[in-house]
């Protein structure tokens, strides 16, 4: 201990002797580059017309629709996730599926809120299931993929509505069955293609099955839709 104290003295002893002489000038150049302000203006979107803003978002949504219709293993859906597309599809589907409120005979048909809740609640549960099984995908990315893959089922709903205008006999039922089955398997296949890479390899079946069940239930609701007249 005594040795340490002795050796420390020469280290700090000279500090008190040091002083900054006033002869040494402090020089420097501080300048704010003027160009950075204009760079900010390029990235800020406050000044652009509203039409540009809306069109940009619509283009992003449309681009993702194209990705869903032709599912390849691209990461576009995962990279720039957004929830506008799922919201649009969910509202469209729920509006078309809801029952009439006045007529008491149509109590059995799902209300708008029921369809909405089923789609969003079901997506949340499937996302939680994926994450609990050890998936590396984030919460909102998974919601985005599941929501966008409802697009084939929405197309099937529109087709069914058109077919039902023609009549509701056996032929129209068979046509609707084929259309709904094809679109539900398309949805399942598309979402599996997007989600496959982020799952642990020996649990893929465990992750795909709830997605299958989810789209099966939505497809069932579309198939059993009967018109109000």
């Amino acid at each position: 201990m005594a040795e340490v104290e002795e050796s420390s003295k020469p280290l700090f002893a000279g500090l008190s002797d040091i002083s900054i002489s006033e002869d040494i000038p402090v020089e420097g150049d501080i300048s704010v580059p003027v160009g950075s302000q204009s760079a900010d203006n390029d990235f800020s979107t406050l000044d652009e017309p509203v039409k540009d803003t809306i069109l940009r978002d619509l283009k992003a949504v449309g681009q993702k629709f194209v990705h869903v219709m032709y599912p390849k293993k691209s990461s576009a859906l995962l990279r720039d996730w957004d929830l506008w597309g799922p919201l649009l599809l969910c509202v469209t589907l729920a509006l078309m599926l809801q029952g009439g409120s006045v007529d008491s005979e149509e109590d059995g048909r799902p209300q708008f809120a029921e369809v909405f809740v089923i789609i969003w609640f079901g997506s949340v549960i499937i996302t939680l299931n994926t994450k609990l099984l050890g998936g590396t995908i984030s919460f909102f990315q998974s919601l985005c993929v599941l929501g966008y893959c409802i697009l084939p089922l929405t197309v099937a709903m529109i087709v069914c509505r058109i077919v039902l205008v023609g009549g509701s006999g056996l032929v129209s039922f068979v046509v609707r069955l084929i259309v709904v089955t094809a679109s539900f398997s398309w949805s399942t296949f598309a979402s599996t293609a997007f989600l496959a890479d982020s799952q642990p390899p020996n649990r893929k079946a465990l992750v795909v099955y709830p997605v299958f069940l989810f789209y099966f239930v939505i497809g069932w609701m579309i198939l059993t839709f009967s018109p109000s007249h």
Binding site: E106, L132, N202, M221, S226
Partner: protein, 298 residues
Amino acid sequence: MANTDFHLQFQEFEDEQGFTENNQGATTVTIDDPIKSRKQRKATGTAFEEEDDDDKTELLSGQRKSAPFWTFEYYQTLFDVDSHQVKNRIVGSILPWPGKNFIEVYLRSNPDLYGPFWICATLVFAIAVSGNISSFLVHQGQPKFRYVPDFSKVTMAATAIYSYAWLVPLALWGFLTWRNRKITSLVSYSFLQIVCVYGYSLSIYIPAVILWIIPNEGLRWCSIVVALCLSGSVLVLTFWPAIRDDKPRITTAIISTIVILHVLLAVGCKACFFSTYEMDPSKYHNEPSTATNTSSTN
């Protein structure tokens, strides 16, 4: 300098030598669970080829589930199953084997919540879909009947099945824990294991419910009886080691309660969702005019 070295030295050399001498031939076991479960397995008379793997899994599983229950990692340990494990568990719940206890063979202190949750969800939707299909098929002959999908069936079925799958295990676990204080048996099941057994035992009902679409009463009752026998025997075989050391009256009471609740669930589902078959055909055949009246008021 020498003084400091002496203070830094450990003073327990003799104890260490004694420690190694005493334990030269013995294996030190510090976790109670492997010994207890090995005794359990010998008691139930099962023969395993993979004793070493069991030891390893028991030791490893003793260290699992150490995360507190309010963190996400705790729930991740409850979903720590692979696809083939789930498949094996479902097969094991459908085919009861007299020597094999479901919890011992398939769960082995790794109960999962994936199976119970998704089997119950599938059963709920299977009941709703099959109920709608069967009522549609029954009324297909009448020209004036307009098919309306009954959406309220889903919520009713969900409530009934999920409460059965969670409340009955809770009651059973509470009762077994209470009895275990008085009669120390070797076998005690945790709450999650009981929930797991009940969840997987419901898996036989899914094909049975799909068979109920066919509007044949004999076939429906036949499928109910077969499903009841299979899953009821799995449940009884699972809980038998836990309660056989108890008084015979309590043992019979528990076994009969398990079986009766299982029967009630199956018969109740059939009665609620598939009972329109008995009443409606007579109503529609005798009074076709009322059917036309109700459809023309649109």
